[in-house]
Every structure is written in structure tokens, then in C-alpha cells.
């Protein structure tokens, strides 16, 4: 299943918190598409997800400083 989360308006630590909480609620094998901003979220959300054993499938620039990250649980 595909899930979606927009954290472009959030700040530390809620950026990580929202991603983590969402990931904990979805099923293994599900994908989560996250929209996030450059800087801290872009640098650390994919890395933190990888460290915790999730698979980061895609990191692409969308527009302006917004990026899309796709994570598989």
C-alpha cells in the first residue's frame, strides 16, 4: 500500500517524529512517500530511516526546495 506524508511545514523534531510514527503504523512492505524540505529533514530523514532498517527507494527534487523521499517498510 502507498501512504503519504507532507512534513514541509514541520520543524525539528516533529519532522522525524511524524515519519517514525507513520512508519510504525503501516504494514511491512508498504511504501511511504514523504514530502520534505532541504536542510535538516532532507539530510537526516532518509539516513535515519536507513539506519533503522527501512529501505529508501527514492529521493527526488520536486520543486523549489521540496524533495520527495519514498521509504519502504
Amino acid at each position: 500500500m502507498e501512504h503519504f506524508l507532507d512534513i514541509t511545514k514541520d520543524h525539528c523534531p516533529m519532522t522525524f517524529v511524524k515519519v517514525k510514527v507513520k512508519l510504525s503504523k503501516i504494514e511491512t512492505g508498504d511504501r511511504l512517500e514523504v514530502l520534505l524540505s532541504e536542510g535538516e529533514p532532507l539530510n537526516n530523514v532518509p539516513r535515519s530511516a536507513t539506519e533503522q532498517g527501512y529501505k529508501v527507494l527514492e529521493v527526488t527534487a520536486v520543486e523549489g526546495n521540496v524533495h520527495k523521499v519514498v521509504i519502504e517498510k
Binding site: 514541520d10 525539528c12 523534531p13 516533529m14 522525524f16 517524529v17 517514525k20 510514527v21 535515519s48
Partner: protein, 159 residues
């Protein structure tokens, strides 16, 4: 996978800004996969009181005075420029306006991320506070040795 990293926070302060710092660290650490323990003692216990306002808690007269004057989560003072309790309310407004999580939201997130919260037995004894006076998320009432044992292989911070 490597052994789970741990963060232990001693939440001594009941200041609004320091409570924010403690819960920011706790939620950030939990969200990035760490096991987080928060040990609340002295003024920090005010953050955990079930009653967010002022309440006469305790049996002895002095306990009751102290607890009433300290109040609960809604009475936490800013460590500087408190202006008689006005500043924490102003700051919460500023945080909302800037899309930054408020203390309430951080505490909710901490619960959701399974951050472990325990209260100091000795401080509770001095202030006449019982476990029933604290929010249900407080898992245990413990002493310093339990805290040290829990924190043996953890990063420890005192706030």
C-alpha cells in the same frame, strides 16, 4: 543491526523552556531509533502532574503550599523573562505561528514513540506527591540506583 542506542534524561527542571528542550531531545532520539528514558525529579515532577493547573497536593501543610504554588504543566515558568507566567503562553503562541511543536504536542509524541517516563521516589516523598497525582504514562517510581542501572550504556543528560 547494531545494539540499540540509548538516551537517558534527568528532568530536574520544571522550567517551561527546559521541559521543551527535554521533550525535544526525547522525541528526536526516539524517532531516530533510540531507546529513551526520562527520569523526572524535583521541579521536573510538575510537568507530569495529572492536574495541569494549581492543586493542593499532599498531606502536610507545607507540601500543599509548595504544590499549589508550583502548579502543574500550565504553570511552568520560563527560565528568563517569565513576566509573571505570561511568557510561556506568548511563546506557545509564537511556536504555533511558526509551525514548531508545542510542549503539549511533544509530550503526546513522546507517549506515541514509547518514551519511558519514571518519577523520582525521593523527590515525590519530600513533596508529598503520590503516583496517583501523576499522569498514567509514568511507568514507575524509582530511585537513583535504578536510574543508573537503566542508564549504564546510555548517553545521559541532566536538564
Amino acid at each position: 543491526m547494531a545494539k540499540k542506542e540509548k538516551l537517558s534524561l534527568v528532568c530536574f527542571s520544571g522550567d517551561f523552556d527546559k521541559a521543551l528542550a527535554a521533550f525535544t531531545l526525547a522525541t528526536g532520539a526516539a524517532a531516530s531509533g533510540r531507546e529513551v528514558h526520562m527520569f523526572f525529579t524535583f521541579w521536573g515532577l510538575n510537568i507530569l502532574k495529572k492536574d495541569f493547573g494549581r492543586k493542593w497536593i499532599g498531606k502536610a501543610l507545607l507540601d500543599r503550599f509548595f504544590n499549589f504554588l508550583m502548579g502543574g504543566r500550565n504553570n511552568l515558568p520560563l527560565s528568563r523573562l517569565n513576566f509573571g507566567g505570561l511568557s510561556p503562553k506568548l511563546m506557545t503562541g509564537m511556536m504555533k505561528a511558526n509551525n514548531v511543536a508545542t510542549l503539549e504536542e511533544l509530550i503526546e509524541a513522546a507517549k506515541e514513540l514509547d518514551v519511558k517516563m519514571v518519577a523520582c521516589e525521593m523527590a515525590m516523598h519530600i513533596l508529598g506527591i503520590t503516583k496517583d497525582d501523576l499522569i498514567d504514562e509514568v511507568q514507575d517510581v524509582v530511585g537513583v540506583v535504578t536510574f543508573l542501572n537503566t542508564s549504564r550504556d546510555a548517553q545521559v543528560m541532566f536538564i
